[in-house]
């Protein structure tokens, strides 16, 4: 095995600086942002750092984070899913209706809603690949259709717009344990959804950077035609990504229905934008091919800390949206600057 000879110095390139090397990671902007938000609210409010406070914002970040990670994989793969928000409600509704109205065991109902989610995700992916339409449009269609179905079917079957009573169904004990229990650490209860969030982020990060499938995700997002030409199974990869997002929606829907015991038919609408924001704040490129699952999880953490931190600080909630908009713009500008620097680290 020969070793390449030492690189001759290229006179066209200024020497890359150490800083340039450090900022190559997509999640660096989000990490800095998270530290800023964390330090800020820790200083400004008393309760932010208390165990109860930590448990609150981690809880808030957790379900958002699970979705953001799913959405980030899809986004790195070059696609979008606007139906991800309603999907959390649809799966919860399917589970709830089957468990209460039809009297199924909760586990069976969960299985059925999982199948439903994967079918919808698969349909999204299939349609996008089949027609070549932008996923924005296709999933906007599914978004509207699911929204209508959630409302129409729920009212048709139950006469109201809200389903509750899963706690009384068979199998709730064990399913609730898995999706909706709390874990006591030092006298404070932490939601099990936080573990799910960490688990989902870790698995996604591992898949993304350490497996061939992760390589394919970057490739189909970066240049679909080239990826297909060198033998990446393009259609399969993209459809699987849509199904992954739907799967994340199912996890969150299951956590919600089992924890809160009830679900409203208009739940989840508008959430899809938050998932996208968390992923973009976390360093994912909206146009695909670049990003990180860990970054998306951190993006959700910023979201959770800020949303609860504002409450801890007693600020008027009216301005939260303004804060969110400004934060989004600031985050993408910072990420953009970092990425530009990173791209300059050339040969």
């Amino acid at each position: 095995m020969t070793v390449a000879p030492p690189t001759p110095v290229d006179e066209r390139v200024a020497a890359p600086r150490l800083l340039d090397r450090l900022v190559v990671r997509p999640e660096i902007g989000a990490l800095l942002g998270a530290i800023v938000v964390f330090v800020f609210f820790s200083l400004v409010t008393d309760q932010f750092l208390s165990p109860g406070g930590v448990s609150t914002w981690l809880d808030d970040a957790s379900t958002l984070g699970i979705m953001a990670v799913g959405v980030s994989l899809l986004m790195i793969g070059g696609e979008f899913d606007l139906s991800a928000g309603v999907m959390t409600a649809s799966t919860a509704l399917v589970t709830a209706i089957l468990a209460t109205e039809a009297g199924w065991n909760v586990w069976v109902a969960l299985g059925a809603s999982l199948v439903f989610a994967l079918l919808v995700g698969g349909f999204n992916g299939w349609l996008v690949m089949r027609t070549g339409l932008p996923s924005f449009i296709v999933t906007l269609g599914t978004f509207l259709a699911l929204q209508g179905l959630n409302l129409g079917v729920t009212r048709l079957l139950t006469g109201t717009v809200q389903v509750s009573g899963v706690r009384a169904a068979d199998g709730y004990e064990s399913a609730g344990m898995l999706f909706a229990s709390t874990i006591e650490i030092g006298g404070t209860e932490f939601q099990v959804s936080i573990l799910w969030w960490i688990l989902v982020a870790a698995v996604a990060a591992l898949v993304l950077v350490r497996t061939p499938f992760g390589n394919w995700i970057f490739a189909v997002g970066g240049s679909a035609v080239s990826a297909r030409a060198v033998g990446v199974p393009l259609v399969r990869t993209k459809i699987l990504l849509f199904m992954t997002t739907a799967f994340a929606g199912w996890i969150v829907g299951s956590i919600n229905i089992l924890r809160f015991d009830s679900v409203q038919a208009n739940q989840g609408i508008g959430q899809e934008l938050q998932f996208i924001i968390a992923a973009v704040v976390g360093g994912c490129l909206l146009t695909g091919g670049f990003g990180s699952a860990i970054g998306a999880a951190i993006g959700a953490l910023i979201f959770g800390m800020a949303r609860q931190g504002i409450v801890f600080a007693g600020w008027d909630n009216d301005w939260f949206m303004l804060f969110l908009g400004v934060m989004l713009l600031a985050a993408v500008l910072v990420n953009n600057t970092f990425r530009r620097r990173a791209e300059r680290v050339r040969r």
Partner: protein
């Protein structure tokens, strides 16, 4: 010996455009088949059929004697046909070594879990590129930061590394200067000498003639003729391509304005 690839009367339309009609040729081991023709002659279309990117509408494609119809580039790769595309087929935002191994990633088993073997990936990439005379400081840098010629070499190195039986190159020299074109042609010759069947697409007869064994000329989607090297010389090949009389008139005219 059966030819590696045999194409008989193949045709392909894009909508109402007939890009290719009734083309036949063979690719043998240890030989270079050159496909020549003007722009839009259908060269890329032909090799995209061989590479599994498109499917042919008519005619027959045999690989190793068996009639086949590739449904994806992956199928063609598995049949031992590696391709370097005119539009390069690299993912700019991905690192050099990930691009190199894209679609054929090296893994280390880990029970049922297969993880990327990143160390091996980087080492092999560095080495394969060094063999082509390209020496990168860092194979972790995005391909998008490489120059056009370097990207071309990454694509060629990849094809050479994985190209089991047949290597297809679509205008590898079109965007290159004299020197880099020479290096590429040298590698074509090397691959041939190692017993690979090579398909070389170009519209520059000066590049094709030194390395080619067989010349397939296309014009507006139809074959203009197939020649063994012994049947044709460089001048004739050039004039065949340009349409003899036209070329002579042109050269004369350019020469006259020049004075």
């Amino acid at each position: 010996m059966t030819p590696l690839i045999e194409v008989t009367g193949i045709g392909k339309s894009y909508g109402s455009v007939h890009a290719l009609r009734d083309v036949s040729t063979v690719v043998n081991a240890g030989e270079v088949t050159c496909v020549l023709g003007d722009n839009g002659a259908g060269k890329s279309t032909l090799i995209k059929i061989l590479a599994g990117v498109h499917q042919h509408d008519s005619g027959e494609l045999r690989v190793g004697g068996e009639p086949v119809r590739f449904s994806s580039p992956r199928d063609a790769l598995e049949a031992g046909i590696a391709t370097v595309y005119q539009d390069l087929a690299v993912v700019p935002l991905m690192s050099v070594w990930r691009n190199f191994f894209l679609g054929s990633e090296p893994t280390i088993g880990f029970g049922p879990v297969k993880l990327l073997d990143r160390r091996k990936g980087k080492r092999v990439t560095k080495q394969a590129l060094a063999e082509l005379g390209i020496d990168l400081r860092d194979v972790e840098q995005p391909v998008g930061t490489l120059s056009g010629g370097e990207r071309q070499c990454v694509a060629i190195a990849r094809a050479v590394h994985f190209g089991a039986k047949v290597l297809i190159l679509d205008e590898p020299t079109a965007a290159l200067g004299v020197k880099q074109a020479g290096i590429v042609l040298r590698h074509v010759a090397q691959a041939r000498d190692r017993g690979l069947g090579v398909v070389l697409i170009t519209h520059n007869p000066h590049h094709a003639y030194p390395v080619g064994d067989r010349f397939l000329l296309l014009k507006r989607g139809a074959p203009l003729g197939t020649y063994e090297k012994s049947e044709i010389d460089l001048g004739e090949l050039t004039s065949q391509m340009a349409g003899g009389a036209e070329l002579a008139a042109l050269e004369h005219e350019l020469r006259s304005v020049e004075t």
